[in-house]
Point group: C2
């Protein structure tokens, strides 16, 4: 009995000192018979409070200290968050964030919280694809330019298959018929054409896609449609600039664009290469920097398709080296894109990639899959061993505990794209997104938007909203949002000096935002 | 340079000795500049193979050694598994296991793999609810007994709201009208009545339930319908016995039934208590043990509803003590049931539960939710601190890393119910079930079926099939299945001697099963 008292006291000391694990090793349950109920309740409540506090501190943003002004903003934002969540807890059918984005995005856009997140300086977007950056409204406006032809399917659905600028009718196609879009707009009701175009430029409606298969087919059909519109040289320049404008207006100060670097064309058969494509992008960024001094900048991740022959792959690597030598400040690194389950695994290219890993930074997509024990989820292991700086998606990472551990040791950030994962059918209810677990252990993550244009999302705010409302704990607050923004600078493709300057620009905007809200109250 | 060679050699030694983490701390990337490509590739391939092997060994069943005969069965089963998965990898629309169970269950039942899993001795089911144990066909046959009344809704849908055995018309109801079921079968087409009854005894069809809210409403409407059918004293006895038969026929040798212990009734107004309800169950088990010597047994977890007043809750605990003293061998422990998001949290009852934790074993449902940072997911913490022996569902466990760590230290097994989680809308595609992560780290889990009757599942085989095909890695084999079966004995509510005896009975059947398949080949 005396012995047990000694063990009990030690256990209680350990509990109160927060060494819970050691206390547990003493097996508290053995004490239960001896402790009085009141003491038992006290131990229980102490452990409970300590564990909740520890979890709260250890989560993403859990150790961010907010100053007085930030605490004011925090209170405001948490009131809004709790209000929305209370509605959902009472009646899940009223909780838009648990529904599919296509059904919820308008309602979300109308919330006060969304409006506050929109103006919040959210840092950078580190994962977004060239062809899916701008709003559909802007894309539609581009289709009003001169000399644009449209290829209408010969099938009954008469869907729009391709777009192309040309003085003469473009080359004959098997499955569709070319006509000038301006003429089509005269023959059919112009509104009807626009409506159909808008529909075909996005993944809506939801009902068309029972699974990843069909969803990826649709995904590619949008790419096929926009490529001719966007790679027209004059459009490409305007489009990239407009993308920067739209991201900037959404509270973004930095953007890494993954691009396949499509070859541009013009009306006079101009001769272009991927260096031209890049130069146009880089020049748009330089002009933008000149006009918006608090813009940090944009960079290119060259990301051709993963489903290619070995020979073509080696060409890609040559391209990457070429890009690096021509645009040392604009070129950030290399990645591969396309439906990962269908493309070739990174392991196939290991030798070639290892040969280049000192020259080129990798930012690989990996583990964007629901499969487990396949090439696709094992891409995660290859990405980390090949020295990737970040991982795109990484949905399968938790299924690979050893890879998770290595990735953390190597400080490999994960680029989370919540809405993309839902639209491409990897996840249903976003409350089940595996990133919740990464948030819980403060794994380095950033929030990005992947292809916002295709699902009518804002450049970043909708994804931030999802992350804040349902991927994070109900209790996670402004600290988490600040950490997410700050992570996007920490894990951006910066050199040391650049990163400092980037932090400065973001901090300045952040403080302005905090001040603004404080002033308005 | 000499120094670097030394570091490199140390790193390579560490890699080859599988101390990967240490090797990584030396930061292999620093070596890249110095190692030749061939050596770099060798290091990469070695690390890759080692990590995959380590993950494979550390997963659920990864260290199970199969004997020669088991390896034969393993090969057979893996061929079948790989065949099904290949179809899915090629075309996800052909992959039934990624679809909703209501769409896939018949196809799954026709696979050879399913047939093999059906005869496999799978140990025990540690999580199943009294009202949802038997096949709908059996329930339908019960409705042909004499003196059964049915209450048909007065609304246009005319749904069946209640069933009750009675000599005279049961007491008047507001919303429905009583008639003898036999007479209803004469007035309406008997087939039509049966079809409608069958439909109302299950959760089908899928389309009715957009979210957890509606799905739980439907869930409760089935409970309301079956309770009058099953709690008729003569039926209760037959029903429980039949449940044991059906589970036994599905390769199950042990069953822990969670019961609200409904009060029974008979035609003559007999006076029953929850002791009678329990005695009938216990007696059914004793008869069954007598007829089936390799039946390990069944046990009761008293599990009343969690949405009650404090006073009622204290009564529950009194009941639990009463049951323990009357049925020390049959009573296993205490739990609370009902929609967790809506019911009261465990924390509310902490004091009362702590007072009893030396007397009564707890087997709490906890974290059956998609919410994060609420009472419901925090139930996980309370369950563990209250000393629960196992956790039912625990879907939110990964979001609570500290609780996960404590639960593992305390060896708290998780009862996974894959199909239930899908039907009750917590998870869409079962490939995203969080149990994959528990499997990956060999966290102690068991597979159970929750309420198989409500979704026309077999007592355990369908859930095992899901676990094997998509929750586990593509590469997980018979070792995982054997481990799952063995876990169900390890974590069953046995005393030391009983557990040994249980293992013996299961082993015997297991070896017979292995022999049978070997003989047939």
């Amino acid at each position: 009995m005396a012995n047990l008292r000694w063990i009990r006291n030690l256990a209680i000391f350990l509990i109160l000192s927060n060494f819970l694990v050691f206390a547990l090793l003493l097996d508290l349950s053995a004490l239960h018979g001896y402790a009085q109920l009141a003491e038992r309740v006290r131990i229980y409540e102490t452990m409970r409070a300590n564990i909740l506090e520890k979890e709260s501190n250890n989560q993403l943003g859990g150790r961010v200290l907010l100053n007085a002004k930030e605490r004011v903003v925090n209170e405001l934002i948490m009131l809004e968050k709790q209000h929305e969540l209370e509605l959902g807890l009472k009646n899940i059918s009223h909780f838009q964030v648990a529904q599919h984005f296509f059904r919820s995005f308008e309602k979300i856009g109308n919330t006060t919280l969304f409006q506050n997140l929109k103006t919040m300086p959210k840092g950078g977007v580190l994962h977004a694809h060239d062809m899916a950056l701008c709003s559909s409204e802007y894309l539609l406006s581009l289709t009003y330019r001169e000399h644009l032809w449209i290829c209408v399917a010969k099938s009954e659905t008469q869907e729009y298959k391709m777009l192309r600028f040309s003085l003469l009718q473009p080359q004959h196609e098997e499955s569709c018929e070319w006509s000038l879009l301006s003429e089509l707009r005269q023959s059919v009701l112009s509104d009807a054409v626009d409506k159909k175009l808008l529909a075909q430029l996005t993944m809506y409606p939801l009902e068309h896609f029972p699974n990843e298969d069909t969803v990826w087919k649709r995904f590619r059909s949008i790419f096929r449609l926009v490529v001719g519109l966007l790679t027209y040289a004059p459009v490409w320049s305007d489009y990239i600039y407009k993308a920067l404008e739209e991201f900037y207006a959404d509270g973004v100060q930095y953007l890494e664009i993954r691009s396949v670097l499509p070859i541009l064309y013009d009306l006079s058969g101009g001769n272009y290469t991927l260096l031209n494509t890049t130069r146009v992008m880089r020049d748009a960024d330089l002009r933008f920097r000149a006009s918006y001094p608090d813009w940090i900048g944009s960079r290119l991740i060259y990301a051709p398709t993963r489903k290619v022959s070995d020979a073509r792959f080696v060409e890609y690597l040559g391209n990457a080296l070429l890009l690096k030598s021509h645009f040392p400040d604009y070129f950030a690194g290399f990645d591969l894109v396309g439906w990962e389950d269908e493309g070739r695994p990174l392991h196939d290219y290991a030798r070639e990639l290892l040969a280049l890993q000192d020259e080129i930074h990798f930012y690989f997509h990996a583990g964007e899959t629901n499969w487990y024990g396949t090439n696709t989820d094992e891409n995660l292991l290859d990405a980390v061993l090949l020295g990737t700086k970040r991982i795109g998606h990484g949905l399968a990472l938790l299924k690979h505990p050893e890879v998770l551990q290595l990735a953390r040791l190597r400080n490999v950030a994960i680029e989370i794209n919540p809405i993309s994962n839902q639209v491409l059918q990897y996840i249903g209810d976003l409350r089940t997104h595996p990133a919740s677990v990464l948030f819980a252990v403060n794994y380095p993550v950033v929030i990005a938007s992947d292809d916002p244009s295709f699902w009518k999302a804002t450049p970043l705010t909708h994804d931030f909203y999802m992350a804040f409302m349902v991927i994070a704990s109900r209790k996670a607050d402004l600290g988490l949002l600040k950490q997410l923004a700050s992570n996007s600078i920490t894990y951006g493709a910066f050199s040391g000096n650049e990163r400092e300057a980037a932090f400065e620009k973001w901090h300045k905007r952040w403080n302005q935002w905090i001040d603004n809200i404080n002033t308005k109250l």
